[in-house]
């Protein structure tokens, strides 16, 4: 049973030891390639010594002794002109693993891993199988028993506190909420200013002067409070970021060991170069990145790099180059993992896809290189015929993609035969707020990351190239694709932009698209949060943010907007289209469920005015319309539709919460083709009624 005080200190010691473990591992790997001397060797020796001393301080005698045995193997080599022998480095690395595992098991009160085999390994290494020191140690080492143990400083000095991750995350959430609240205060102030302006316009001078003065003072006070709140939030965010971020290096450094071990076991040679390891990231993001990065690096060595003799024969350096490049742009993080190996073997991917039935032969025949490359992300896909310790089970890249998607990111692969493969992970990097451009499309508002919006401009018909299959815009002497945001999000059929309608030039991943929206509302600083699980897999959205009144706005993903490969519903020939008009959100959802199950493409409108607007731009095969709507009810809408030349023969089914003969008769009188109560709107019944009204209308014409 552990002493409670010791138990508390152990948790800190595990973290401290992990950092030392990482440094010692790195030193060992480097010293395999360079003379065992200098700063690198000192760092190695110091690390082992600290492990020993700290373990002894905490009364972990076996671990102290074990670290001492590692020192025994390493220290005699100090000053050698030769690199560390591989088998010796191996022995110490494996012993370090066991040391760390044993420490963790002690802290977790779990079963302790045995030490004997590691001690034997160290003993063999020390007794010099193929190794002999080329120079005597340059300075005498302290005997182990007289070494002053180094304390686990932070854990016991009282200069730092140990706080659980859960508590910090809880605090982070609260600061995010506070920032949202601060943004809402700003919005309230603007509302107050608008009210004041309106009051001044309406009330003339004297009658409202006193009230306006009061409100004006209130506005100023609110502004002052908002600014102070902004300072507090910014300061809290800075403080929390310092606590909750770590350099990417902490995830990348252990990869050096993985690369080394994989090379040893496979006979390959590789050097890992890292750019941008100093970028600091939220620990939660880093934790999630660890697994995907390990998998991609393992794949690069195992699948990507060729054997040294093959590389030589191909005119490459015997040692393969692996590169990890980390870059942060605004709130987006880009991590590139590249190798200069053989590249993806598309023929093998094709064969494997065919033999394992991943893709039907006819579909496979139509696939281009980019689509074939995407097959590697499918669950269970592997080109290996044998299963090794490293790969071949087909679990890997699908897991990588899922984990990156869970972080609201995505993975891309680019490969050139004979030259190598590059995986690029793109994901949101930070907590806190980021600039978002708010736009309106129909009655929906969306946010676009400002970093992706290059410019905005009004549509000019002279610059539009509208064809049957696609629309394009002349932009800086180039033609770029033109997309209607409403159609992209399935809200309506594609509409050509009206003269003067706002167009946004959105760029991402080297692609550019012109996006037509109904209105640009403005830019805001918003805290973008992940969507709940039920809708998280939707590729269109990065997350959601809270607006001033507490309502949520969906934030679109720029890479999704510029991806023109997805199938547009408008391209589905022969699909029947239904327009559902109901002011109840849930009624619209239910009608949509039923109609989509029947093969309809469904667009919705929450009021009659919006429905008429949609009918002006597009044709529908049927309209399902609620009677009891505000402003303009279903009867009035039906009558209005019957007056429009383009929709006068469209079948209309009226639905109502009330079952009333007079409503039925009135519906018929204004031109409706059928009537159904909402309680009868079970899926099958709605579909059969829709079919019936369509058949009736067809018969009539």
């Amino acid at each position: 049973m552990l002493d409670p005080m010791l138990e508390q200190l152990l948790a800190g010691f595990v973290d401290e030891s992990q950092e030392i473990y990482d440094r010692v591992t790195r030193s060992l790997i480097e010293l395999e390639k360079e003379p065992a001397q200098g700063k690198r060797f000192d760092e190695l020796a110091r690390g082992l010594h600290t492990l020993k001393g700290s373990a002894a301080t905490l009364g972990l005698d076996e671990l102290a002794e074990f670290a001492h045995r590692m020192e025994d193997v390493i220290l005699p080599l100090r000053g050698s002109l030769q690199p560390l022998p591989a088998e010796l480095a191996d022995a110490v690395l494996r012993s370090l693993d066991v040391w760390m595992a044993r420490l963790r098991a002690t802290a977790a009160k779990a079963e302790l891993p045995e030490l004997q085999s590691s001690l034997e390994l160290l003993s063999k290494a020390k007794n010099g199988r193929g190794w002999a020191p080329t120079a005597p140690p340059s300075r005498p080492e302290e005997p182990a028993d007289s070494a002053p143990p180094l304390p686990a400083e932070e854990a016991i000095s009282g200069e730092s506190w140990r706080v659980s991750t859960r508590q910090v995350i809880g605090l982070l959430h609260e600061v995010e909420r506070l920032r949202e609240l601060r943004l809402r205060v700003d919005e309230r102030k603007r509302e107050l200013e608008r009210t004041l302006a309106e009051l001044a316009r309406l009330g003339g001078a004297l009658a409202t002067a006193e009230v306006r003065a009061l409100l004006s003072n209130l506005g100023r006070a609110l502004g002052g409070d908002g600014e102070e709140a902004a300072d507090i939030v910014a300061s809290m965010e800075d403080g929390l970021k310092a606590i909750s971020t770590m350099p990417v290096r902490t995830v990348i450094e252990p990869l050096r060991r993985a690369v080394r071990d994989l090379c040893k076991s496979s006979g390959k040679l590789a050097r890992l170069a890292v750019v941008g390891a100093e970028v600091s990231l939220d620990r939660r993001v880093l934790e999630q990145l660890r697994g995907p990065m390990v998998q991609l690096v393992r794949n690069a060595v195992d699948h990507g790099l060729e054997m040294p003799e093959v590389r030589e024969a191909r005119g490459k350096h015997r040692e393969g180059a692996l590169t990890i490049r980390v870059e942060q742009q605004g709130n987006m993080l880009f991590i590139e993992i590249a190798d200069d190996g053989a590249g993806l073997d598309l023929a093998r991917i094709k064969d494997a896809a065919l033999s394992h039935g991943f893709v039907p032969p006819e579909e496979l025949a139509l696939m281009g290189p980019a689509q074939l490359q995407q097959i590697i992300f499918r669950p269970g896909f592997t080109t290996r015929t044998d299963v090794t310790e490293i790969s071949g089970r087909g679990v890997g890249l699908d897991v990588v993609r899922n984990q990156i998607q869970a972080l609201q990111g995505h993975v891309e692969v680019q490969s050139t035969p004979g030259q190598g493969t590059r995986f690029v992970l793109t994901l949101p990097a930070e907590l806190g707020s980021s600039p978002v451009l708010v736009v309106r499309c129909g009655e929906h508002q969306f946010g676009l990351p400002m970093v992706a919006v290059e410019s905005s401009r009004p549509a000019r018909s002279a610059e539009l190239h509208l064809g049957r299959a696609r629309a394009q815009l002349e932009h800086r002497e180039q033609l770029i694709a033109l997309q209607d945001l409403g159609a992209l999000t399935g809200l309506r059929q594609p509409e050509a932009p009206q003269e003067g309608q706002p167009l946004l030039i959105v760029a991402s991943q080297g692609r550019r698209v012109a996006l037509s929206v109904d209105e640009v509302i403005g830019d805001k600083e918003l805290v973008v949060r992940p969507l709940p699980v039920e809708v998280r897999d939707l590729p269109a959205y990065q997350g959601a943010a809270t607006l001033a009144r507490g309502e949520l706005i969906l934030i679109l993903r720029a890479d999704w907007l510029v991806n023109l490969e997805r199938k547009s519903e408008s391209g589905l020939a022969g699909t029947r289209r239904a327009l559902v008009v109901d002011d109840s959100l849930t009624a619209r959802a239910l009608h949509r469920t039923a109609l989509e199950a029947g093969g309809y493409v469904v667009h919705t409108a929450s009021n009659a005015r919006q429905a008429l607007e949609q009918l002006r731009h597009a044709a529908y095969d049927v309209m399902v319309c609620d009677i009891g709507m505000e402003e303009m009810d279903g009867f009035q809408l039906t009558a209005a539709v019957r007056q429009q030349a383009q929709a006068d023969s469209m079948p209309i089914l009226l639905v109502s919460a009330r079952d009333s003969d007079s409503d039925r008769q009135r519906g018929q009188a204004v031109g409706a083709d059928g009537f159904l109560t909402k309680k009868d709107c079970v899926s099958g019944r709605l579909l059969s009624e829709v079919s019936a009204v369509m058949a009736r209308r067809k018969g009539a014409t």
Partner: protein, 177 residues
């Protein structure tokens, strides 16, 4: 000024007596009485009566401030903020496979299906708490493995008890398909 002891209100004795009587009643309540019933929130979906275990219910909130999510599965009504969290509002009638309804839902029930996250389900009216006899619930459950357990109450009244974890499981498996 010297502090004066607060005077006992005149009705204090009466109130104490009332509270004491209540406490006495509770003390004498047979201990198994609570356990004899499964407390549920009962509400209508169209012509039928549905119920959710009361311990899964976190709140009943008005169906407003819901942001629709275009391109989402049809059972998703939208997303909303609840106590600082973003949660999904789902159409119960849609989850149940397409049911008719009498009134457009105006209430969202925030429930915890037991997966560590909350979801909101729409319903036509604010539910009322009802006790279902445990024995009947268990008997009905032994015959059903689905998302709905049909329970027949005395007087032949039928209540469809929603088994939330199974309902959510079914939804996710439908989505995967």
């Amino acid at each position: 000024m010297k502090a004066q002891p607060r005077e006992q209100p005149a009705f204090a004795a009466e109130l104490n007596e009332l509270l004491e009587r209540r406490a006495e009643r509770i003390r004498h309540k047979p201990p198994e009485a609570e356990e004899d019933f499964l407390w549920v929130a009962e509400f209508p979906v169209g012509e039928e009566s549905y119920a959710l275990p009361l311990d899964a219910l976190r709140a009943a909130v008005p169906l407003k401030m819901v942001t629709p999510v275009p391109l989402s599965p049809p059972q998703v009504i939208g997303i909303l903020r609840f106590q600082g969290q973003i949660i999904t509002a789902l159409s119960l009638a849609s989850l149940l496979g397409g049911r008719g309804w009498r009134e457009d839902p105006a209430v969202l029930l925030v429930v915890d299906p037991g997966f560590g996250r909350l979801v909101a389900l729409d319903c036509e009216r604010i539910p009322k708490p009802v006790g279902l006899p445990h024995a009947r619930v268990e008997e009905a459950r032994s015959r059903s493995a689905g998302a709905i357990t049909e329970i027949t109450l005395p007087g032949m009244k039928q209540v469809s008890l929603i088994e939330l974890p199974r309902l959510m499981d079914r939804r996710s498996s439908q989505e995967k398909r």
